[in-house]
């Protein structure tokens, strides 16, 4: 945003602060979203140094697309009807599910139902914790933190027993935890991660969908998943993954 020359480049919004998905590290960007974005960009005809990465915090994603600040967004962006009123999606490129992250040695939690009387951490403003409390465990105590790292730290030190959010994010956390945390591995919702684009841009959606199909077919998708969840025995929910990208093609 700070005056860098952006002509002839593609601007992609990602998260900068989610290890495993989108994370800024030593001036480069790593994570599953980043890998998918790079692949798509390549298929669209942009080399890696023709990508301008922009931070797309959750609450600003729609606005960034509408203003034309970015050309597309890959930032754990779930496809919902509400959002489709403002923007269009391509994809999905991944189907995540809400899951739980627990301490490795803690065998007492094997699903959301086990959380009664336990303590659960989620980030401020997300609804995932509320879902657990409403649907699975009414006795759970909730703690809100500004970021997942804080939640994970709290989990480390024992003041909470589980962290909840999408499994791929949890897997990223677990992979950075030096083997001290594990993902439970029983996702209990489905989140279809899409590529956010400007509303009504069906041409771009088709191109992106084709790129995603290619990515799944040539094995890069598999590699990207396993690269970014190294050190955990996480596998994406096979019932839905890899997904069939068909969003946004009809205007």
């Amino acid at each position: 945003a700070c005056g860098a020359d952006e002509t002839g480049k593609i601007r992609i919004g990602i998260k900068f602060d989610q290890p495993g998905l989108g994370f800024k590290k030593s001036g480069t960007y790593v994570g599953f979203d980043v890998d998918v974005a790079k692949y798509i960009a390549k298929k669209l005809g942009y080399s890696e140094d023709e990508i301008v990465w922009k931070e797309a915090p959750s609450k600003q994603r729609e606005a960034m697309l509408q203003n034309g600040d970015v050309d597309m967004i890959l930032a754990s962006y779930s496809i919902t009807d509400e959002r489709k009123k403002a923007v269009s999606f391509a994809g999905p490129y991944f189907v995540a599910g809400q899951d739980l992250l627990v301490r490795k040695d803690d065998q007492s939690i094997n699903g959301p139902e086990d959380l009664n009387g336990k303590r659960l951490c989620s980030v401020t403003g997300s609804t995932s914790a509320a879902t657990v409390k409403e649907k699975f465990a009414s006795e759970v105590q909730l703690m809100e933190q500004p970021g997942y790292a804080e939640c994970a730290t709290a989990l480390f030190s024992g003041i909470v027993d589980a962290v909840t959010t999408d499994d791929i994010i949890l897997a990223g956390l677990a992979s950075a935890s030096r083997g001290k945390l594990r993902v439970v591995g029983k996702p209990f919702t489905q989140e279809y991660y899409g590529v956010g684009i400007k509303k009504g841009d069906t041409k771009l959606a088709v191109k992106i969908n084709n790129a995603i199909v290619d990515m799944i077919q040539d094995g890069s998708w598999e590699n990207a998943v396993s690269d970014n969840t190294k050190g955990t025995d996480y596998t994406p929910d096979v019932r839905y993954n890899p997904p069939t990208p068909n969003e946004g093609e009809d205007a």
Partner: protein, 399 residues
């Protein structure tokens, strides 16, 4: 501010006193050391979780990459917001501070309402509101502008009050002298009073800078990637968020501390250019429109300590100038309780009761206080009651 708090309470100790102090000193020192060690031990070996002192956790928080990728960019964002907010706040403050001094009632009233409103609303609320609003409105960088604007509004209102109390703290003579030379009221305000108020307020404005710097950290709540946010991110990579936050805290501390020192260094230099007291503590008046509490604090400033901590000798100042209240001089003093009775009734009372030969002081209290009269050349001019007759909101008597 001269710190007399110690000498005011305690006599110079004798030999016995010195021994007691020495023992207490050791005891207290040891107690604090023990507490510190206990905390460190707890961190070293917590009941659950990791040893927070291990090098494994500290190294990623200290190494080169942490600085180049996280702390320094974060600090830059923090500084960027701080500087712009300060510039904005000073502009805002000058406009509305002077606005509150203008002869025009309407402008004065509007300025007063804006300033009081901005001072009362928590900065965090302002930030959240602007952030969401700008995001919905589709502005670029909403969190940056939200941080800056919220800080401008709040700190600008403080600066406005500093300007106002700076002008009010000027001895009335400055204004009178310019009027007597044939300058108009507005010329006097622009040429003489406001520049001096600015010099006087500068140290306090630097202190306010510390507040701005600290408050930028609220930006992390609205996802502004300032120093605090960046160190959080760094921490989420290695799960050493405590360590990275400690580093952030250290950086904040050093920056704020340096600014505080600057604020303390400034007054001496600024004092040469203003007749109002230049002090590092922002003496922004508290309540809606009333600036008069400044004078209670000002009393302390008259006590200037000698180099070796002994007792200063000459601090009796019987006359203080005040600019803002010059037109309401007597009423304000009356309200503030200096005159229990009206001077006239009292004079009669005095005369009636006065015995022959009792040295008759010609109405003591009033006359001796009105005129600036200083002991031996050092002209102390202190604000007595600020804003007395010039503000619409709070100028009415408080009771």
């Amino acid at each position: 501010m001269a710190d007399t708090s110690n000498s005011v309470l305690f006599d110079a100790p004798g030999p016995k006193g010195r021994r007691t102090i020495r023992i207490a000193n050791w005891v207290a020192g040891i107690v604090f050391a023990v507490v510190l060690v206990l905390i460190l031990m707890r961190l070293h070996n917590p009941p659950d979780g990791e040893n927070q002192l291990s090098w494994e956790l500290w190294k990623p928080a200290l190494e080169r990459e942490a600085w180049t990728d996280f702390y320094l960019p974060g600090l830059w964002m923090t500084v960027k917001a701080t500087v712009l907010a300060v510039v904005g706040a000073v502009a805002f403050g000058l406009v509305f501070g002077v606005g509150r001094l203008l002869p025009n009632t309407l402008l004065r009233g509007i300025s007063a309402i804006i300033v009081e409103f901005c001072r009362a609303v928590p900065v965090l609320l302002l930030m959240i509101f602007f952030w969401r609003w700008f995001a919905f409105a589709g502005l670029p960088d909403p969190s940056y502008w939200a941080v800056v604007l919220a800080l401008v509004l709040y700190n600008g209102s403080v600066v406005a009050e500093l300007v106002r109390s700076g002008v009010g703290n000027l001895p009335g003579g400055q204004r009178e002298a310019s009027l007597a030379l044939g300058l108009t009221e507005t010329q006097s305000l622009v040429q003489i009073e406001v520049p001096q108020a600015v010099y006087a307020m500068l140290p306090a404005a630097v202190t306010q800078l510390v507040v701005v710097l600290k408050d930028t950290a609220l930006g992390s709540i609205i996802m502004y990637t300032d120093l605090l946010q960046e160190s959080r991110r760094l921490g989420s990579m290695y799960f050493n968020i405590l360590q990275t936050l400690v580093m952030a805290a250290v950086i904040y501390f050093i920056a704020c501390w340096l600014l505080s020192r600057l604020a303390e260094w400034l007054p001496e230099r600024m004092q040469q250019r203003t007749a109002a007291p230049a002090e590092p503590e922002p003496l922004a008046p508290i309540a809606a429109g009333d600036a008069s509490n400044v004078n209670q604090i000002a009393v302390a400033k008259e006590v200037e300590e000698l180099p070796f901590g002994g007792a200063p000798r000459k601090y009796h100042v019987h006359h203080r100038g005040t600019n803002a209240s010059i037109r309401n001089w007597r009423r304000t003093r009356y309200e503030q309780g200096y005159d229990v009775e009206h001077p006239e009734t009292e004079e009669q009372h005095d005369r009636g009761a006065g015995k022959p030969g009792t040295p008759q002081a010609p109405d003591p209290k009033l006359s001796s206080r009105e005129h600036e009269h200083s002991d031996h050349g050092t002209v102390f001019k202190r604000g007595d009651n600020i804003g007395g007759g010039r503000t619409s909101l709070g100028a009415k008597p408080k009771i």
